[in-house]
């Protein structure tokens, strides 16, 4: 009972923490740290929520969640008889665990499929440009620059983007994309996109996904600025933002403009780094979150 209560408390803490964290202001000063905190919040929340239900369910065995589930899977008789509430908790717990796993896998497979088709089409219709070696060029007047992540990642720019940007700005954009490729930011995004699909009504989850999307862009900006002038990256960003040649069918514009300005601001006027004590505080928090939830799965309080 205590384990179930502790897991429920942890799940609630993670949910409330995520909700508070969506409005945290320090994240743009340490995007990588913020991404880690988001990831640990997500993992701990998932384990704690399903764990709380399962811990209550396997109570008749008088062991922890994992040993209890193993005993159940082996068909061992519990110490106390099952009652309706425990059976209900077992069904709910196993279902939500299955939903989380399946949604994550489905999102992965779907992303892989979309990328494969994208890559095939790129091979058929994109061309090389001697001016930008190693980059695929799409013959389209709109401005776009992106990367197709994977084991063999490809960076793609459109002819519109080549026309729009100066040479230095293009180099800055390519450095930014190379950072995405190098740090495999697509893998960071995937679980959040999957979770959003699993819980489409949750504002916290969609805010979290938006935050993480912005944070990986900032992390890539940070890496890119080591190789190019931050000012050129900022002007490239603004040029992209104002080159709205394609009509946008859905109402996400406010957020995009805000995000572009947030990235430009921190490139031009970098805020002081986060204090070391604060940094270590958040790292400790992440470690605690990432260890507590699995620990509570294994032991019985």
């Amino acid at each position: 009972m205590i384990t179930a209560a502790a897991l429920a408390a942890l799940a609630t803490a993670c949910a409330v923490g995520s909700w508070r964290f969506t409005t945290a202001r320090w994240t743009s000063r340490a995007p990588r740290l913020a991404i880690i905190v988001w990831q640990s919040l997500g993992v701990a929340w998932g384990l704690a929520t399903t764990g709380a239900m399962l811990a209550y369910a396997v109570q008749p065995y008088g062991t922890g969640v994992l040993p209890g589930l193993i005993a159940f899977a082996h068909g061992e008789p519990p110490l106390h008889a099952w009652d309706a509430l425990h059976v209900l908790a077992l069904i709910a717990g196993l279902t939500s665990l299955a939903v989380l796993v399946v949604v994550l896998l489905a999102a992965g497979v779907q992303a892989l499929r979309a990328r494969r088709r994208h890559r095939m089409l790129l091979a058929l219709i994109s061309h090389d440009d001697p001016g930008v070696p190693g980059v695929r060029v799409l013959a389209h007047p709109s401005a776009a620059a992106y990367c197709v992540p994977g084991l063999r990642s490809q960076v793609v720019v459109s002819e519109g983007a080549l026309k729009l940007l100066s040479e230095d700005e293009l180099a800055a954009v390519l450095a930014h994309e190379a950072a995405h490729v190098r740090e495999r930011h697509d893998l960071v995004l995937l679980p959040f996109a999957a979770l959003r699909r699993a819980l489409p009504w949750s504002k916290v989850v969609s805010d979290a996904q938006g935050q993480v999307e912005l944070l990986i862009e900032m992390a890539a900006d940070d890496r890119a600025r080591r190789y190019c002038s931050p000012r050129r990256l900022a002007t490239a960003l603004l040029r992209f933002g104002t080159a709205g040649a394609m009509p946008t069918p859905h109402g996400m514009l406010g957020l995009h403009a805000h995000n572009v300005m947030a990235r430009v601001d921190r490139l031009i006027k970098p805020a002081p780094e986060l204090a070391v004590s604060v940094r270590y505080g958040y790292i400790a928090l992440s470690v605690i979150l990432l260890t507590t939830a699995p620990y509570l799965w294994v032991i019985q309080l």
């Binding site: 990367c147 992209f240 104002t242 514009l253 572009v260």
Partner: protein, 107 residues
Amino acid sequence: MDILWAESTALTAREVGRLIADRDLAPTTVMTVLDRLTRKGFLHRTRDGRAWRYQPAETRDAYIAELMLEALDLTGDRSAALTRFAQAVSGPEAEILRKALTELEDE
């Protein structure tokens, strides 16, 4: 693919092979490639006597538009398949960005 896009009519593998004159390809190679593209859905083929006639499923521009829609995140599903550099904005917000851009350029 480029050759098929350039021609308005459906072509047989032999005709495609003849049009790729600059490269000396075996007819079977051409056939294999065309067959593979058909299976992936990029070509349609119709029977013509003993040979197949191939035709692109979509125009080149349609495919480019498809990639660009994905690239600019206009498909609306916000999947994590691609990472994009920046998104375009419009209306009064673009005005704010434009002002910031001129300020940066003037400095």
